[in-house]
């Protein structure tokens, strides 16, 4: 076998036996390190998974939504605008949409109410998401009372419950007929919440949007791509902030690791002195130290990332879904779709192993450059 390879193997062999000889200290280091990587990995996996879910939601969203703005606020849009918009070149279809939010004081949850043109939906009947069913403890055939605008309850019978595969998307959803929606909220006649516009050629959407603003100055068209972008940056921003906070944790870990590495026990120092005196060279000791570092940081990385992966995708990020998701009290028992993304793995590797390497390089060098003759006098 190649000599330099054999040298690496010999030194790796000794590194493993040295690590094992100081199990107590090294296992403590490994545990703390793993914990930090676990948290970072969980955050990164979780936000990326949420991002993907949001993308799924938006996939079904219309390419272009037109809202009406009054005094800078969102206001119901006259359905009649639809005819004008439909006349713009390139627009293939305009659909008025009716939707809103309903705060349920009993459960403290916010439901999303959407008028559906589903013909099978009977009057005074609703289809609900599984989250709604769970929090209100109702099933098909039961009644859900919703207060109308005057405060008197209207009973709706549950006709259908959406399957929970699309939990995050549909958990808080209540679908009802358009007349029921208008009656419940006393919605002004001839108005809709917004208009969904679709174009034959998606490339023309920006031109169409510009034309709509020109023709109807009180409207605001929102492109799906803009929505995606906004969601993305919000998610990135959230996870970024958390990561920055975490950086503090990492920093303290670095100090911890530094301390461990510099505060070499007298025994370790003596050992390195012996190695140097019997013919190990500084490079060999540096190699020994870096093998030790590689073993520690790779195992912490593997453990941390696998635990984070299990945590997010199989235990639904139970440790911090409250902190990050926080848009509804309807915590759906959702399962995020497990995905392994090499980019994220590479990134996590850099984020976790990089600082460790940087923190230990000087201490290992200090240890490795003790004078070989030091062992002659101890």
């Amino acid at each position: 076998m190649n000599r330099s390879l054999q040298r690496h193997l010999n030194i790796l062999d000794f590194a493993l036996s040295s690590l094992w000889r100081r199990k107590g200290k090294n296992l403590a280091l490994l545990a703390v390190y793993t914990l930090i990587i676990f948290i970072i990995a969980s955050i990164v996996f979780f936000t990326q998974a949420l991002k993907r879910e949001a993308d799924l939601v938006l996939q079904d969203a219309p390419d272009l939504v037109v809202q009406r703005m009054v005094a800078g606020r969102h206001d119901p849009i006259p359905v009649s605008y639809g005819t004008g918009i439909a006349a713009i070149r390139g627009v293939s279809e305009v659909t008025p949409r009716f939707w809103g939010y309903y705060y349920d004081p009993v459960t403290g949850a916010n439901f999303t109410l959407v008028a559906s043109d589903d013909q099978e939906l009977k009057p005074e009947a609703i289809s609900i998401g599984s989250g709604v069913a769970r929090t209100s403890r109702i099933s098909i055939g039961d009644f859900l009372p919703l207060k109308d605008i005057k405060g008197s309850p209207v009973l709706f019978s549950v006709q259908k419950i959406f399957p929970s595969s699309s939990e995050l998307v549909a958990a808080d959803l209540i679908q009802l007929r358009q007349e029921d929606f208008q009656r419940l909220f006393d919605f002004p006649a001839g108005r809709a919440t917004d208009l969904a516009v679709s174009a034959g050629n998606p490339a023309e959407l920006e031109t169409i949007a510009a034309k709509i603003v020109h023709d109807f100055p009180d409207t605001r068209p929102i492109l799906k791509s803009e929505m995606i972008r906004t969601y993305d940056s919000v998610f990135d921003w959230r996870s970024g902030m958390v990561l920055v906070v975490l950086a503090v944790a990492v920093l303290s870990f670095i100090i911890f690791a530094w301390d461990k590495a510099t505060g070499l026990s007298a025994e370790e120092k003596k050992e390195i002195g012996i190695l140097k005196s019997i013919g190990w060279e500084t490079t060999d000791v540096l190699l020994l130290k870096s093998w030790e570092g590689i073993v520690i940081s790779l195992s912490a990385f593997l453990f941390g990332v696998s635990l984070g992966y299990l945590h997010v995708f199989f235990f639904s990020a139970s440790l911090f879904e409250h902190a990050l998701k926080g848009w509804s009290v309807l915590y759906p028992e959702f399962k995020l779709t497990p995905v392994i993304d090499p980019y994220l793995i590479c990134l996590l590797f850099l984020l976790s192993v990089g600082p460790y390497v940087a923190a230990t390089v000087v201490p290992s060098w200090l240890a490795a450059t003790v004078d070989p003759d030091a062992a002659m006098r101890s």
Partner: protein
Amino acid sequence: MIMHPGVLALFTGSLLTSAMILYAGWYGVRILRNWDLSSGSELQLALEKRTYLISTLLTYALGFELISLFLFVFTADRLHLLFSGAMCAAGTLNANGFGYPLLILKLVNFLLAGIWLIVNHADNQGYDYPLIRFKYLLLVPLVPWSLLEFSYLFAYFSGLHADVITSCCGSLFSLERPGIAGDLASLPVEPMRLAFFGTLAATLVSGLYSWRSGKGCYPFAVLSLATLLVSLASLVSFICLYIYQLPSHHCPFCILQGEYHYLGYPIYATLLGGALAGMGTGFLHPWRRRGSLSRAIPRLQRRLAATSVLLFAVFLAIASYQMIFSPFRLGR
């Protein structure tokens, strides 16, 4: 500033690397000023110990430079969603004026650190630190370059705001657009193809010659650099077209994606590795007769030449395979 985890990783990594290189540079200057091998003084012994630290730091810096080169492109690709009009990394890089210069800086720093490590390796073979001055003089330009890289990174990411309308790669590398990227894309294909195969052939021949005879290292080093530049231009100008099988998609980054079987990795790895090894032979050449290195350097040069020839040959094979077996044909 965009708080993407990738941005944070790049930022932290670049900060650490710059700090390491700055530290190494600081001691490099001290070594240049106080080095006196014949003395057994304590200062000299301390400086000799420092050299170990410096080469370790530079090894890490090189490693990071290499990883971050790809990570940077990848992060840019992930971020393209945030910029309307950007369709891949090319659009994100174009979102402000620092993107492309940063990429070039990264490339330069990678090459500099690599060459430094080659020279360092050669120096370690000699029993009287024969290249110590040359080595630490070589370290000096690395310091400002790496600081520059860090400040460009900072400027680039802090100047990045979602929603900036940028050109996507489709238009950035399309023929009408002015600017360097457009220029590369609009280079006439036939002369470009000629230049590509010409330089590669010349480099391979010269590399083989250097490998067999240990001579002709300067021309080989220059040719290696030329191959790197011409090949990068050719990737944009015509090689990518065969890979994408699209007549107008010139982007040199999308080939790193899974859709194209991650072909970009072997392409860039062989190209960068070949150029680095080839340039290394030239940097070692002036010292080949130094007493303590008169055996080590020629041996190392031959090994480097062989590595370089091998890597370039693999690169050529991949590129030609794409051109010959792609169903796509460039129109005349």
